[in-house]
Structures are given as structure tokens and as C-alpha cells.
Symmetry: C2
Subunit: 326 residues, 2 copies
């Protein structure tokens, strides 16, 4: 399909071949992260868990996969003027990283209120930050202005077929290294990771169950999954800051087609799961990455006795403010 | 050598064969931990660093190696009445773990003042805790009393040839997986790890340099290395709680024979190195494990441009009190 047609179709999704192509395309730029086990957490969860450690992915999150696939899918002509996105989190750093690998400029639009550490994480990878007022309108206007002024291509954090294909590569690797998985659980914010994961998993083996996990305090994806339309966020009070985003029609359509259920976890369970991963596995994960385990520990996922893959989505936690410290 | 003779000789040390035997003996009971790389830390250090991740070892520290070797070196007759040690830290948990694997009792002597989390770490592995007053005399008396009452065998945290042989196995694996190392750095407290490491390294290739790393605030090993006698601790004010121990004549003799130098790091550098490992590598290490990198960052180790192995000794950090939080 020609790029203009793709852009015109807000519902186009990658297939398994596109995810496999993404895997080859990004291989020089991302880590094949390890799959970790922890028997004491298995005992708590009553299941055999296979943790895909995207917290140690380049830039500290799975986002490096989607951003790299988008950046390296561009022709030289398209890439010439760089790329632009809006993100105050991991996607901004990932796009800056991927653009740096390709040697093209990156522009990241952020609200003026973005924490200094997140600004730093984008800036030290060589991207240019453009600040905007903290509204959706101001954000989109700033992105459009940069596109007009510079000719940079937009790489949306999740509503992008190339980004979704890239995110699906983590599940391909997880399945490959963990034979006999009965289920895979991924956190869901905008839905790029869950879309890519569900397409990768179900295209290979429809019997493997795929679950989304989100905070009960930001349960828009669970509500959207039930209603069939993109539902707004009711609040943004969760500590899982990576999941304070609604789906897009594109990610909702993938999730409705391929995901078995979306489950939610309480804030207390997210904190408990995050601390359990730090203490028992000796690895650092951010709150969003702990949401699948939190659902499991609260009994919201019926996977007892199964082999379950969990995508530990990122490790960019704020080391100055730990959620179990008041 | 007969066991009674070994016990009588306070200076007997393992050779490379003993370390290799330990490696086979403990293989079913410990992890072969991965060797991790981090290019952004390499850039800060000006060297290529190969981190042996003993923070994800069973029980969260390399101590599982020495304790397992000691416990599984005992004959059935010797093991029958269990094992005893004194430790308020990682060795107590490691001995409890190894005894549990062998199905024999473990007794751990601790000062009454030991933090509750450390008590818990020993108790939940099935060991019996005996409390004593916080003096060396009370500790040794409590150990001796348990030996008399129960027939349990003493497994000293570091002044034990079987323990030293076990600790040396980490370096064997590190060398095996990291070709071309010019130097290896290990933290030094009682000296069991550094003794085992230096014997393993120098017996294989005397050209590889071996360094000990300790806090400037607990520089007894550096002073002992220079003077040739076991020097007392001047203070115990370092955050590297695993390194608040003096050498024994046995570990000092190994270290004087095989170690090139002992370097020290400031408390500020230890905190900075620990945070750097957490932030960049997304893994949890305890303060003691960060001391080698701290020495490197402060320029106390002349290894510029070299390939350097670093033993990340443990990951049992207190998650409620991070040293960069005041």
C-alpha cells in the first residue's frame, strides 16, 4: 500500500509479516532482551511466569522497538528532514534515539510542565524539545507547526502502523524463547504494545490467550474494549504514568479483534507488584511495567498453573520518589 | 589433608583445582549469573566493563557460592547435626539456603540489634536465629555454645578454605565469558571473595591484574595490605555495610600473594556509582557492590582503555532507605 493510502486509513494494522520485517529492520538498533524467571514470584502467583525484560531495552523501554521501526522504514527522501512526535515519556526518548542512529533530526513536543528528568532524557539523545501548553490542542498544533516548518515526518507514539509492528517484536521473541506459553499479558496505555503483541501472538497460535492490564484508576481501555468506542480517561491519578493515555480507533480495533480480555489492578497492588519485582528479581521496573503482575496477584487474571509471558515494559522509574515511600 | 589438620592451619588456602571442584559441587545449587555490559557507563569510566551479576545470585549475593561449597563438602556424618555461623548479613541467608538444600539444620548467630529485614531473610529460609550481645566475644561464645549443644559444624563467613574456594567460582565464570580481560576488581570486606577471586585469576593468567575495592571510611584492608598484619577497622561509618569487617590472617595471606593493589572510594562516589548502576543498568545492587565502580569513577584504578571485570557482589539493598535520599 502506498504511504498516502496508509495515512488515509486510520484503521490499517500490521500483519505478522510486517512484524517479522520489523524484527529484521530493527535488529541492529535494539537489544534482544532476556526472558527472566523468578521462582519465588511464581509461588506467589501460582503460575510459571516468563518476564520479557524490556526495562533493559535501549532507552529503558520497549518504545525503542516501534520508534526504530518507524525511523528505519522511511526512505532517505522521507527521512531527510527528520521526525517529530509528542511525548513527555519513553516514546520521546526512543524517537530521539532512533533518529540519532539514523543521523536525522528529531523534534519532541512536550508540555512545559514535563519533569526535568524526562526533558533531560530526550535532550541528551540529541533531540530538540518544543514546549507547548498542557492541552491536546496545543500539542497537536505544535506538532503540525514543526511539520510545516521543517518537513519532519510525524511518528505518533502508538497510532502508527510501523510503531505497532515494532512493538509486536517483543512478543515474537518472548514466544520464541518460552515454549508452551498459555497466555501473554501486556500493559495497555495507548495500545501500541498490546496491539502489536496480540497480532504477533494470535497470528502464530490463536490458542494462546492475550490479556491487557491497566490501572483501575485509568480503566479507559477496559471500558473501550466493552463498548467498542474509544472511551475517555476518567482520571489520571494512577502512579502508572505510562498508562495515562486513551486508545485510538486503530489500536482499539486490533485489541477488539485479538485480545481476550483487559483486566485492572488497584494502585496498592501495582505498588506491591513493583516492589516485589525490585526485591525478588533485583531489577528496576517503572510502575506501568508492574501492572500485569499486579492483576495476577489480585486474582484478576485466571491463569493458575499456566505458563504466562509478561512484558516488563520499561525501567525508567523515578529513583528520588519511590511509590512505597510516603 | 585431613580435616583436623586443615582446621589447625589457619593459613591454608584453596588452589585452582579446589576452586574448579567447588564449581562442579555447587553447580546444582547456584546460578551461573550473566555478565552484563553498559556502554554509557563504559563511556563514563573510560574502560570496557564486564559486570558479573551476583546481585541476582540465589539469596541475592555471591555468598551462596561459598556457603554451598562448604555445606556440600561435608560428609553425611559431618553434616548430620547441621551448620552454624555468625552473620547479620548475606552469609547468614546463604548458609540457611545451602543447609536447606541439603536438608540439614542451620543456626545463625546475630546481634540483637540486627535489622528486622535481615532477620527475616535468614528465618524464612528455615534457619534458627540465636541472638547475642553486639560484641565479638559474645558472638564467638554463642557460636561455640551452639556447636557444643548441637554438634553443628562452624562455617565462618570468610575465614574458611571451602568458603574461599566457593567464592572464587564467580571469577572463573567471569573470565570464561569475557575474553581479554586486563583486570578484575572485587569489593573487599573480610576478604573471602577477593581471596578466591585472586587465586582463580592469577593461577590461570598471572598477567591479569586483580584489585580490591573498599570504602575509604573502612580502609582496613588497604592498611593491612601495606603493613602485612591484620589492621583493625578505624570506623564503621560507611554505607557499604557488607564491607565493615576486617581480614583474617588467612585472607590477608592470599591477598598479599595474589592481589596487585587495594583502592578506596569516598562515600559520595559509592552513592554515585550505586545510583548510576540502578539508573543505567536497571538493576538493583547494594552499596558494597558499587564500590569497585566508585573506585574507577574517582580515578583510583588505573585501567583506562582496558577490559575490566567487576564483581557486582550483591543486591540486597534496603528499598526503604536509599542512600541518595536524605
Amino acid at each position: 500500500m502506498h504511504e498516502a493510502d496508509v495515512a488515509a486509513d486510520a484503521l490499517v494494522l500490521p500483519d505478522l509479516d510486517a512484524i517479522r520485517s520489523a524484527q529484521s529492520r530493527i535488529a541492529p538498533h535494539v537489544h534482544r532482551t532476556p526472558v527472566l524467571r523468578c521462582r519465588s514470584i511464581d509461588a506467589e502467583a501460582g503460575a510459571e511466569l516468563f518476564f520479557k525484560a524490556e526495562n533493559i531495552q535501549r532507552t529503558g523501554a520497549f518504545k525503542a522497538r516501534g520508534a526504530s521501526n518507524a525511523v528505519f522504514s522511511l526512505s532517505d527522501q522521507e527521512a531527510r528532514h527528520g521526525v517529530v512526535t509528542h511525548s513527555s515519556g519513553n516514546h520521546g526518548a526512543a524517537l530521539a534515539y532512533a533518529a540519532g542512529r539514523r543521523g536525522i533530526p528529531a523534534f519532541v513536543v512536550m508540555p512545559e510542565s514535563a519533569p526535568r528528568t524526562k526533558q533531560e532524557n530526550v535532550r541528551r539523545r540529541g533531540a530538540t524539545i518544543r514546549f507547548c501548553a498542557p492541552t491536546l490542542e496545543a500539542r497537536d498544533a505544535a506538532c503540525a507547526a514543526i511539520q510545516r516548518e521543517t518537513g519532519a515526518r510525524l511518528v505518533h507514539p502508538f497510532d502508527d502502523v510501523r510503531v505497532i509492528a515494532g512493538q509486536g517484536t517483543a512478543a515474537l521473541e518472548l514466544i520464541d524463547e518460552s515454549p508452551g506459553l498459555g497466555a501473554i499479558v501486556a500493559p495497555v496505555g495507548g495500545g501500541g504494545l498490546l496491539s502489536g503483541t496480540s497480532i504477533a501472538v494470535k497470528s502464530g497460535d490463536p490458542a494462546v490467550r492475550v490479556f491487557g492490564a491497566e490501572p483501575a484508576n485509568a480503566d479507559d481501555a477496559a471500558r473501550s474494549f466493552r463498548s467498542g468506542s474509544v472511551e475517555p480517561l476518567a482520571s489520571t491519578t494512577t502512579i502508572a504514568d505510562g498508562l495515562r493515555t486513551t486508545l485510538s480507533p486503530r489500536t482499539l480495533s486490533a485489541i477488539r479483534a485479538h485480545v481476550d480480555a483487559i483486566r485492572t489492578a488497584s494502585e496498592a497492588a501495582i505498588v506491591r507488584a513493583m516492589r516485589m519485582i525490585w526485591e525478588r528479581m533485583k531489577i528496576i521496573v517503572e510502575p506501568s511495567a508492574a501492572v500485569p503482575l499486579a492483576c495476577l496477584l489480585e486474582g484478576a487474571l485466571d491463569v493458575r498453573g499456566m505458563r504466562v509471558g509478561i512484558i516488563l515494559s520499561g525501567g525508567n522509574a523515578d529513583l528520588d520518589r519511590l511509590p512505597w515511600q510516603s
